[in-house]
């Protein structure tokens, strides 16, 4: 297919519309038996017309065809990206002596453990949004006062603006309306003490490491769910990790009873 040489120049030149030639239609043009009518055509999504393009799209998704043209991007650490490995280095946060040999691993560690950390109780949260909710609900005395009179507990689902009187009501809402799990780990009610609770035998619940995130493990066995809200803490910090204030708090703090296993 040969294109006129001036075409590329036209593309490179400025915008503009052609001055249209005069339109002059003869009624005989559309007279039977001829039936042509100039009209734009639309195709709905499932139309067979799209088959070839769709198949190509899916070949690309399945990675059978080559990738789209590369625009050189500035990698954050080019060597590390290529090799995945750099000489071992330690986390720079005071008190954390985790060691890494890949920048990606470090990035994830940093964001998980040191990213959204509550300055009051040193708990880490996956997002700023959850951290903000935590600080408000756990450490803001004004919040406590206000919540006695109005609905203050905001739904944690992004985009939902519902508010509730108690954190229990909020949890119910999240379970019913948003199909969240009843034991959603980032929605822990604040309690001053957790009652010592019996663990069901054969409990294979999860353990949490260190103090960074609250993990509530529930008995997996068939014991009925306890009536009130209970929390079971288990702390076991491997020797390769040391924490500063956070770790110490886990063992020495009197705020919460911990149940050692």
């Amino acid at each position: 297919m040969q294109l006129p040489p001036a075409l590329c120049a036209r593309l490179a030149a400025g915008p503009g519309a052609a001055e249209p030639l005069p339109v002059e239609r003869d009624p005989a043009a559309g007279a039977a038996p001829f039936r042509f009518v100039a009209r734009p055509v639309r195709f709905p999504r499932e139309h067979q017309f799209f088959e070839d393009g769709d198949v190509q799209r899916h070949l690309y998704l399945q990675d059978v065809i080559m990738q789209v043209a590369d625009v050189p991007e500035k990698p954050r650490a080019p060597e590390a990206r290529l090799l995945g490995r750099v000489p071992a280095f330690a986390c720079q946060v005071a008190g954390c002596c985790q060691v890494f040999d890949a920048l990606d691993d470090y990035e994830h560690h940093y964001h998980t453990l040191h990213g959204n950390v509550c300055s009051f109780c040193k708990r880490a949260f996956p997002s700023g949004h959850l951290l903000d909710a935590h600080i408000l609900e756990w450490h803001d005395s004004l919040f406590q006062i206000l919540s006695e009179r109005q609905d203050m507990y905001q739904c944690l689902v992004e985009g939902c603006t519902e508010k509730f009187k108690t954190s229990r009501d909020r949890k119910d809402h999240m379970v019913r309306m948003h199909l969240y799990p009843a034991d959603f780990r980032f929605d822990k009610p604040k309690k001053s003490r957790s009652p010592a609770s019996a663990e069901a035998p054969g409990d294979s619940g999860e353990r949490s490491e260190g103090e960074a995130m609250e993990i509530c493990s529930e008995p997996v066995a068939a014991s009925p769910a306890p009536a009130g809200e209970r929390r079971i803490y288990r702390h076991r910090i491997p020797s390769t990790i040391c924490f500063g204030q956070g770790a110490a708090r886990g063992f020495k703090s009197n705020k919460k009873k911990t149940k050692q296993c």
Binding site: M1, Q2, P4, L7, C8, R10, L11, G16, A18, P20, L21, P22, V23, R25, D26, A29, F34, F36, A38, P40, V41, R42, F43, R45, E46, F49, E51, D52, G53, D54, Q56, D63, I65, Q67, V68, A69, V71, G84, R85, D105, E107, H108, H109, T112, G115, N116, S127, L130, V157, E158, G159, H178, L179, Y180, S204, E209, A212, I215, P238, I241
Partner: protein, 494 residues
């Protein structure tokens, strides 16, 4: 950039023939799936470091005891490296469908995995997420649906700050989304659309590409036009952001643009609220992108740019059918004749690299020229009639569309037909009259009729070049008879 994922777990002893054969097979399978309206594809992210892909790179299938063992080790191991190693072994085993089945049948396995996913051990989290990702990629519904307990956490992590982790969660979610309506019925109330909308602010290209993928899977769903697009998507800020991702310039990333162009296509062809998109400047953004593509196509050899061109063409073509196009600002947003130039450059590119996309390009040309004297004039003044005619031999579908575009031009009257004749048009028509395809011939007859009407001198030449014999060939054909007869009369009287 998806290119990062290139060298993953494929057996290295794979010749070019083998690859081609595989591609043909996949293509046939996809066509069949599409005809049955079951077109589902998932993405798999495997970032194995070189040493892992060394000897014994093909992982073994794990039995029930081994899966249990690895899970227990990951959960309760003392050394962190040990725990991580256990999850890595599990993840490798999960590359096998059999291991996946074993895993989901094991009681408490998903619960344990979710616990590891939400632990505060960053590397365990990542490995657990990778295990989930393998599961999400399964072709078996039971396996993918077993991942449902993890979705609220995957969504929560979308607002975290670790870009690699977010990327992984997005691809996993994208795979789950496409699995079944049951899965989407859980994800939608869990707030997947707002969560995705929040992600679009990310500065990381890899995250944006993953986001585009997940979104495109959501929008491709069968129930999307009714249940997802009107309520969630159009109510959010996603459409504006999507268009921003498509604006040409130094920040345009082709991999990201491909995903969002497809997203836009699914929205537009659902015809839910296209005037809204036009109001956001979709036509001008896409038009400029088309110009950009034409420029890129001229420079790069084989870049897969047709993957981006295809949805852009579709979006433009469908948008042009909206009545709103005429009323916004009182005139068409798209008037720049560079669009026609760009389109022809792309048509040439398709002709050489991907002929199956020619109909889509010609579709846009039809929609541009149908009601636009200006664009029809551009076709003439930019000397594009002859290149257009060169496409006639490609296929019947292409022939019909070329002839339709020519009819669009011819029907505008004598001023236009004068520029169509003399020239290569008449010989081309005599040639297409020799085709056996009824639609091609029918469209040729329509064009002839217009040509004879507005340019009567052409009749003589037609007769001299055995036009009547060409017509006679079709006078028995039911769908063509009347028109053949009418033309014969015109020719004989002229």
């Amino acid at each position: 950039m998806w290119s990062r994922r290139q060298g993953r777990l494929r057996p290295t002893v794979c010749g070019v023939e083998e690859l081609r054969r595989r591609r043909r097979e996949r293509e046939a399978a996809l066509r069949k799936a599409r005809r049955e309206q079951q077109l589902v594809s998932k993405r798999l992210l495997r970032n194995d470091a070189p040493e892992e892909a060394g000897e014994g790179c093909v992982a073994a299938i794990l039995g029930e005891t081994e899966v249990q063992q690895f899970l227990r080790q990951a959960q309760r191991g003392t050394e962190e490296k040990e725990r991580e190693g256990a999850l890595v072994s599990l993840r490798r085993g999960l590359q096998h469908p059999e291991t996946q089945q074993t895993f989901i049948r094991l009681e408490g396995s998903m619960r344990t995995l979710v616990g590891l996913l939400t632990s505060n051990q960053a590397l365990l989290q990542l490995e657990a997420a990778r295990c989930l990702h393998e599961l999400s990629h399964s072709e078996q519904s039971t396996v993918a649906e077993a991942c449902l307990p993890a979705t609220s956490y995957l969504l929560t992590y979308l607002s975290s700050h670790s870009s690699d982790f977010i990327e992984l969660c997005l691809y996993t979610l994208g795979n789950l989304i496409v699995e079944s309506e049951a899965v989407r019925r859980q994800l939608l109330p869990q707030g997947i659309v707002p969560a995705l909308a929040a992600c679009i602010q990310s500065p990381h290209v890899a995250v944006l590409e993953a986001l585009g993928y997940a979104l495109s899977q959501l929008l491709q769903a069968e129930e999307a036009p009714e249940k997802i697009i009107p309520s969630s998507i159009l109510a959010s800020t996603l459409p504006q952001h999507m268009l921003q991702m498509l604006q040409p310039g130094p920040k345009l990333n082709p991999g990201v643009a491909v995903e969002f162009a497809w997203c836009l296509h699914y929205i537009i062809c659902s015809q839910v609220s296209n005037p809204l998109l036009i109001g956001h400047g979709a036509l001008s953004t896409l038009g400029l992108l088309l110009l950009d593509l034409a420029g890129a196509v001229q420079k790069t050899e084989d870049a897969g740019l047709e993957l981006l061109a295809c949805p852009v063409l579709r979006c433009l073509s469908n948008l042009l059918t909206e009545a709103a196009v005429e009323t916004v600002g009182g005139q068409m947003q798209l008037r720049d004749e560079r669009v026609v130039a760009a389109l022809f450059i792309l048509l040439q590119f398709f002709f050489q690299k991907q002929p199956s996309l020619l109909p889509e390009g010609l579709w846009l040309l039809n929609n541009l020229t149908a009601n636009s004297p200006s664009f029809c004039t551009s076709l003439l003044s930019l000397d594009l009639i002859e290149p257009l005619l060169q496409l006639l031999p490609v296929s019947n579908v292409v022939s019909v569309m070329v002839l339709t575009v020519l009819c669009n031009v011819a029907e505008k009257g004598p001023a236009y037909c004068q520029r169509l004749w003399p020239g290569p048009l008449l010989p081309a028509l005599l040639h297409t009259l020799a085709f056996s395809d009824t639609e091609v011939v029918g469209q040729s007859l329509e064009l002839l009729h217009l040509l004879f009407l507005y340019q009567p001198e052409a009749v003589q030449v037609f007769l001299q070049q055995s036009g009547l014999q060409a017509l006679e060939r079709h006078q028995e054909e039911a769908q063509l008879q009347d028109r053949v007869y009418a033309l014969q009369q015109t020719a004989l009287q002229g």
